[in-house]
Symmetry: D2
Subunit: 342 residues, 4 copies
């Protein structure tokens, strides 16, 4: 298969390591540069010893990269920084951004949720939202794709088709969600210590999580009217995995059928038989999303579940899925790895 | 302090061990008999090595116990068995039952949720539901108290005062809940193996969990009309702890104030400052329940949280709290242990 | 790549699921039969939902398999059963056995460690011990290969080259080892419940673990004289991974150099820089083994570490590595998956 | 019981919280001051929400404490700081130091292991090493007691009696040890994140751990000659608990009998029946130490196990045990809490 040259910016975080892990067995991508400013000069295997058996470039600074020889950049930098770096990249380079910088189309919404003015407004207007199952055609043609939030995609995949089909009430959507700790990244924080996380469960960012911006944008677009959902994320004592438990109004049977129809030929979304509940352990390390639907005991109400791995389908796997399209390869290339269980 | 003689039936399960752990430092209770039919003859420290330093009676069969010398029995047997054993106990013995057998007052409801006809209907009519904070006076006078379900109490404590005060809509209550695995007991089951549970999160018993019977009974009683809630439990990859995330309609400020007023002098229920979220790790191993209230971003909606330890406040600690009342001791006796963290 | 038809017997255990996971992306193997007597008739995705996205044969009984169409069988049955089943297979079928039945060459040693007489003595004499890095040439030509014990390989890989090179004292070897719980399999056992395993650490099978039989056989062969090691396994509160900490007598520098020389061109064994310690989390889900050497503070003593994933390099990955050789494919085929971290 | 006024310095760390947890049900201690410079002014329940139900003084700076009203200080400050603070305390105050500053009697040894010159040499000469089971009489009379290292005590309790009795070879002691992460404290470090620790196991500080200084001092004293042990600590994916697996030369039966005789009337040390292995989960949250002895399969060799909770018997529980003696209370006061399992 034709090799495409890949650079990863912000390669010292978990999403960077996940990109490297996946590209290690990708037949059409070759990593030619790994950048991480504060760790420039280090061997990648010293930063992530699980990848020490791979033959990889030494970590460098972004300005050391020869972008003429790069086909596509994965950008795993923090938001606000990401937009500045991407703005400065040469036009020939395609970009998949894993930060939040290009997810929201409306500059006001961006400022509302992230606090700062956007410094690359023109680019923002051209970016395509990286929800492959919805924006596949635009992604294929895009130069810049904005990876979704990992919580956001877990809610979007099951709910968007329901809004479009009109089988649920747009005013009565509650997304209760639990996520593993790897989503919080590798920077040391007291709240992410093993002693603080293990054997514990707790909500955070109640009614104020930034991924609400993505829900508002995409749900409203799908419904053709403003949609405001309730959203409560929780932190799980596990590393990987997100489970959304979504309370909706509508006929459970219709809801299930709508999702079955929508996703029957999707390679990475599986709708379980009616009444079955997905589990995070069954998608760990894979690009799979499992969706389940059950009837509530009250007629006209249903519960929709959605499970995926935040680092894979929620971030780096999704990024490769989009990059495959942007580079003209089959969408599944390099993403067939089965989940790791137990 | 006057010593009360205690027998524990079904002592080889986790709730039995938790009773022994708590009674070990209880100044007014002495364990005189520990029964577990299949392990009769074994030293208790061989069944639960963490308690081997205690001076305890050898495990025996129920029929070996001299109930004349027993003041109170904790009954930790499986439901259906429990009712038969308790029926046969002499009248002088007070009983706290930790099974589901005497929780539901309506025989039809019992049959609906547990499948079998009740074999001790007369006793069922006299049993007091063991929610101390609500039924304290009746418990003080009771001969038979039925401990609540561990999930049930986690939902009842925060919601009952709101229904009684009329500050929430009784038709719009969704209880999303996550529980640790110790609630499933010590019997080997594939689904409770470490390999199956750790690093995983999943809903179970969707819209069909037996504790719904308790919710229906108590919520309807409190509201003075039938109340039917939605309830989705999940299994957490941790041993102890339940967190309920409850979606309600009402003014968040009123809801918080109602709970603050209700629980300000309760020894084992703490209402957190407005907007704070409780965590299971902050109640582990204690008889404490932490309740939190936050506003949703949609006006007129709120999220109520409740955290407790399923084996302590959810079961054995609650049982001792009730037994203290039944035996004329201060309610807090022996239950002051602070949570274990980390 | 030419496809080889594969049957997996005992497919409902963790090693079976791990074989399926790995073969899912193996370019030269096609699964044509999955047998598990008690679950015959079930869809594989119902037994292991993490593999539900794969197109796999329904579970069947062994006698339903047409072995004429099978090139190689992976046999994941319990010991004692395994020898009977393999004995009955037609000669044309190559076999990799994952049980203990063909690991020990001496029938007396087999009976000593496993309790029963061997029922397939002739086959036992022809079986090759599946330690690829040592017996590669014999494996290539073998019809029956006996996969190593997962603890055994973790001790054998670092120690065998040292005995052969004569750089350590054969009478002073202590292997202290810790293993994840997935090695205990999927059958429900009280001791493997999450409540019993998590937050706990303990030795088991002290001085009596069956893998001692493999240590005795292989170490004595390598040293050319009887070698008797001390071996203490412990159970870790994690699913996958084995770490051996091995106390030896010899010059640490020589020991490190011997291992570097031995393994420099091995695809699946990495010797870390002197003084570095391997970690189970850095090999999880991969066929990699990481080896480290450090000097003790007492001259003439060293500590050797070895880490691998019990289900991959310790069992199913190793089995595929051997099958690749037996089927004439490159040894690394399908085994390049990078470890999953975090 | 007479109340003794207690101040805790460095109260915002895990050992501080563990002291508060234990003192919460201690009948003879009242906390009158809690100091933590960087968190001065905060409510203790905001730093450790699991203790929010307790009535505790607000965190203050050390210089705000009126030491005239304090009977005993627990000092949980970092080493090097601890010596300066303790030096400045008025003479009337008894001190239990939980840092490493006063553990080593030899200033040269202190400098060797900790790098800095000792700034309170005179105090150092008067400090008593806090191994209650050995130095009980001196502790009773001491003004300053130096709590042991948590790893150190886990090795010292089982080995010291064997050296004194001469039943093991002092030149052949290997201490292999595994510890939970709470011993690393609450300061954020990359290596202690949940994502890095869970599902992983690894040695650290090989042949160089500072607790070697304590082993050298106490083992040599007990043996009456220099004793140099090998010591390899490992990090466990769990919060609490240390297990030492100790390889010795001697007759296992003699070794077991020596330990049984030594500890038969100790309240906090239990020697298990011969051949049984202790587990960290059976001592969690308690002041208990469980010791086990097994024979190796090679005659003349034995394996000794020792398990305790690093934050309790390894640190704060031990500190209270010593403080009880210093304040003239029964040694067990307030330390009878049974372990928390599961």
């Amino acid at each position: 298969m034709k090799q495409h040259n890949i650079a990863i910016l912000g390669a010292s975080g978990y999403t960077g390591a996940e990109l490297v892990r996946l590209i290690a067995t990708h037949p059409g991508m070759t990593i030619t540069a790994l950048a991480a400013d504060r760790k420039a000069g280090m061997a990648y295997g010293d930063v992530f010893p699980h990848l020490r058996h791979l033959d990889l470039p030494t970590l460098c600074r972004i300005e050391e990269i020869d972008f003429d020889a790069v086909d596509l950049v994965f950008c795993g930098l923090p938001h606000a920084t990401s937009q500045l770096v991407i703005k400065a990249l040469p036009d020939n380079v395609k970009v998949v951004d894993l930060s939040a910088d290009f997810r929201l189309r409306d500059p006001a919404a961006y400022k509302k949720w992230y606090g700062n003015d956007h410094a690359a407004l023109e680019l923002q207007q051209t970016a395509v939202y990286g929800l492959t199952e919805v924006y596949r055609d635009q992604i294929r043609a895009a130069r810049l794709v904005a990876g979704t939030g990992c919580n956001a995609i877990t809610g979007l995949l099951p709910v968007l088709p329901l809004l479009r089909a009109g089988v649920i009430d747009p005013d009565e959507i509650i997304i209760d969600l639990a996520t593993g700790v790897s989503g919080a990244g590798r920077s040391p924080k007291e709240g992410m210590l093993h002693s603080e996380v293990s054997e514990g469960f707790q909500a955070y960012a109640i009614a104020s999580h930034r991924h609400l911006g993505e829900f508002d944008q995409e749900f409203s677009l799908a419904a053709g009217r403003p949609v405001t959902v309730s959203f409560t994320p929780h932190l799980l004592p596990q590393n990987r995995g997100i489970l959304a438990t979504i309370y909706v109004r509508g006929q459970a049977g219709d809801i299930h059928q709508t999702l079955v129809d929508q996703y029957q030929s999707e390679p990475f979304v599986t709708v379980l038989p009616f009444g079955q509940a997905p589990a995070t352990r069954h998608v760990r390390g894979s690009n799979q999303c499992h969706i389940g639907v059950a009837a509530d005991r009250r007629d006209g109400r249903a519960i929709v579940f959605s499970a995926l791995d935040n680092l894979t389908k929620g971030s780096s796997g999704q990024a490769i899925q989009n990059a495959n399209l942007m580079l003209g390869m089959p969408e599944e290339t390099g993403l067939q790895l089965a989940p790791l269980f137990p």
